[in-house]
């Protein structure tokens, strides 16, 4: 009986466990998680914050799931060390330390919030400073806010803006601070970012851009933040959401080859035999640029976890290259994007926009390499598929920049083939 051990109980870990169990009915599958909750939809924590998702609906699976799949889950259990020689993981369960042996190990430790240097900021001391990445973060934040809270959020990226949306209506004021000149700078150009920002500003959420928090004041509670442009903001709650970093300390200490994230081969195996890795903590090859980088994205983690699981059971499965993609809404404004979205000289950009609506397609040579859709995302997956399959645009039935996309963009022969033969995939 094969012993599988999975460190991490989120998208990558759980998908790996399912793939393993589907193909190995008898193996021993253990999942360990340092969190106290069972697998939940991490991007749902902002919906929990504003009450749109109740605590019972935040979980990805019902209670019966782990039992019916015969998966053993150890919560509140931190992996302290991987002994690659004895093939054991040392885990801390409160005070106790125990050893769990494995034949195949998956490291799916995800990522942690990045905390920039801010003078006087001390998460251990100050009771009103929060990060926003886990369900527990959201629970704690929800308990602390009052209708009089003046909230400052550091970071106008996806997490910072979702935190703002989650807090909206429950607090006195929300101010979002970001060093960049626009919101969601890593995934949007200025013109698209301005649409998102203007929409969010309608909710009286204010932005301080091209500046950052350099100092906080207050000992046990932060009472004021000082910005690098000299401004001072009164603050009852500070949320630090400037990005995430892969959790690779465990892997590094075990001698696994790591850059920002762990390196894996095309079968999701790390540089150490029988140790696999997936999700936010690994480097993946970008289909469009060829670069090795970390994609901290839910679909990517699910896919990689599934593939790692298959390989762990011995079903050799190659990981396809990936690319960035996001689908998110802010106060009813829907943003969907994928691939390379920045304008540059070598890329042809086609923009079709009306008030509060935008469709931008980036074309390089004969390929679609990226798109941004705001409030106009019906059938977006056909664009995603054109990027993924590197379809030559000249082979299509019409010019995709000239009209709305449909499945009729493919020839009848191609359509039939897809309808009959497509099985899904990673």
């Amino acid at each position: 009986m094969k012993k599988y051990l999975i460190i991490g109980n989120s998208a990558a870990g759980v998908n790996a466990a399912v793939a393993i169990r589907t193909n190995d009915k008898t193996g021993d599958v253990k999942i360990i998680s340092c969190e106290e909750f069972n697998s939940y939809g991490r991007p749902l924590i902002s919906y929990y914050l504003n009450g749109k998702v109740k605590s019972e609906n935040i979980y990805c699976h019902d209670e019966d799931f782990y039992r019916s799949m015969n998966l053993e889950v150890l919560l509140n259990t931190k992996a302290e060390k991987v002994d690659t020689i004895k093939k054991e993981v040392l885990v801390g369960l409160g005070e106790r330390i125990s050893r769990i042996s494995y034949d195949k190990l998956l490291i799916a430790t995800g990522s942690s919030p990045f905390i920039p240097y801010i003078k006087n900021l001390d998460f251990n001391l100050q009771k009103n400073v929060f990060t926003f990445l886990t369900y527990k973060d959201s629970v704690k934040l929800k308990e602390k806010i009052t209708k009089n809270s003046r909230v400052v959020i550091a970071g106008a990226g996806l997490i910072g803006l979702k935190a703002a949306e989650g807090l909206f209506g429950q607090v006195a004021s929300i101010t979002v601070v970001d060093l960049d000149n626009r919101v969601m700078a890593s995934v949007l150009d200025k013109s698209e970012a301005d649409i998102i920002q203007a929409h969010i500003e309608q909710k009286f959420i204010s932005f301080k851009l091209q500046t950052s928090i350099c100092e906080v004041q207050g000992e046990n509670n932060v009472s004021r933040v000082i910005l690098s442009n000299g401004e001072t903001l009164n603050c009852d709650i500070l949320v630090v959401a400037v990005g995430v970093r892969p959790n690779v300390v465990l892997a590094k200490e075990a001698g696994i080859k790591t850059s920002k994230g762990m390196f894996v081969d095309e079968y999701m195996q790390t540089s150490v035999k029988d140790i696999y890795a997936a999700g936010d903590c690994v480097e993946s090859l970008d289909l469009l640029t060829g670069e090795s980088k970390v994609f901290a994205l839910w679909p990517n983690a699910s896919n990689q976890g599934g593939i790692a699981g298959l390989n762990m059971t011995g079903i050799k499965t190659r990981t396809p290259k990936t690319f960035a993609m996001n689908s998110i809404s802010f106060f009813g404004l829907q943003l969907t994007s994928a691939g390379i979205i920045n304008n540059s000289r070598s890329i042809d950009t086609f923009v079709d926009s009306t008030k509060n609506k935008l469709r931008k397609l980036n074309v390089l040579n004969d390929n679609l390499i990226g798109f941004v859709l705001i409030n106009d995302n019906q059938r977006a997956g056909i664009y995603t598929s054109l990027i993924n399959d590197k379809v030559g645009l000249s082979t299509l039935a019409y010019d995709i920049t000239s009209k709305d996309i449909g499945f009729n963009v493919y020839s009848k022969q191609e359509r039939t083939k897809k309808i009959w033969d497509y099985k899904g995939g990673y």
């Binding site: 839910w298 896919n303 689908s327 977006a380 309808i419 009959w420």
Partner: protein, 170 residues
């Protein structure tokens, strides 16, 4: 209906026999009745007129037009219930799932309308509902012996068949 394993001649196992809706393009008139009946079947009232007037439901079918220089043709498209669905992998809330018979379903109670499924579906057959909080997709009218769109197609342009049955017809 159901997903069973068929033993092939060469001894390999093949997942087959799950019935899906197949479109026969040459027969489609583009009349849109399939959409009307899809909406009605998924309405509260189950009444065509009431559904049309009072219930704002997106149909789970897309009717597309092929325009060429001298002809117009149509086809209807709906969820292919992929073996390994991208929409399920992308779903952030656990709303999208596959039931035991292989049908891909969306649990509206859990859906938050992030539209990650729309971002990854290569057929473009998941639709956003007007409430902005959920999506509509084909559920093969689970529980009834034949989907309502198929039952009500006036020209047999869509049929409910297993793969072998469908292949025999083309």
């Amino acid at each position: 209906m159901g997903c069973v394993f068929m033993l092939c001649k060469d001894g390999s196992k093949k997942e087959s026999m799950m019935k899906k809706i197949y479109a026969f393009e040459s027969k489609c008139l583009g009349c849109g009745l399939c959409e009307v009946h899809c909406r009605t079947a998924h309405s509260k009232s189950k009444d065509i007129v009431k559904t049309h007037k009072r219930e704002n439901i997106a149909s789970a079918i897309v009717i597309e037009e092929n325009l060429s220089s001298n002809t117009v043709s149509y086809f209807a498209l709906q969820c292919r219930h992929c073996e390994n669905p991208k929409c399920i992998k992308a779903c952030i809330s656990g709303a999208m799932y596959k039931d035991d018979s292989g049908i891909v379903l969306n649990n509206k109670e859990k859906c938050v309308g992030c539209l990650s499924c729309i971002l990854v579906c290569p057929f473009g057959v998941i639709k956003k509902n007007d409430d902005g909080r959920s999506v509509s997709k084909c559920d093969l009218c689970v529980g009834s012996c034949e989907p309502f769109c198929v039952k009500n197609c006036p020209n047999e342009a869509i049929k409910f068949l297993d793969e072998d049955g469908a292949r025999a017809l083309i």
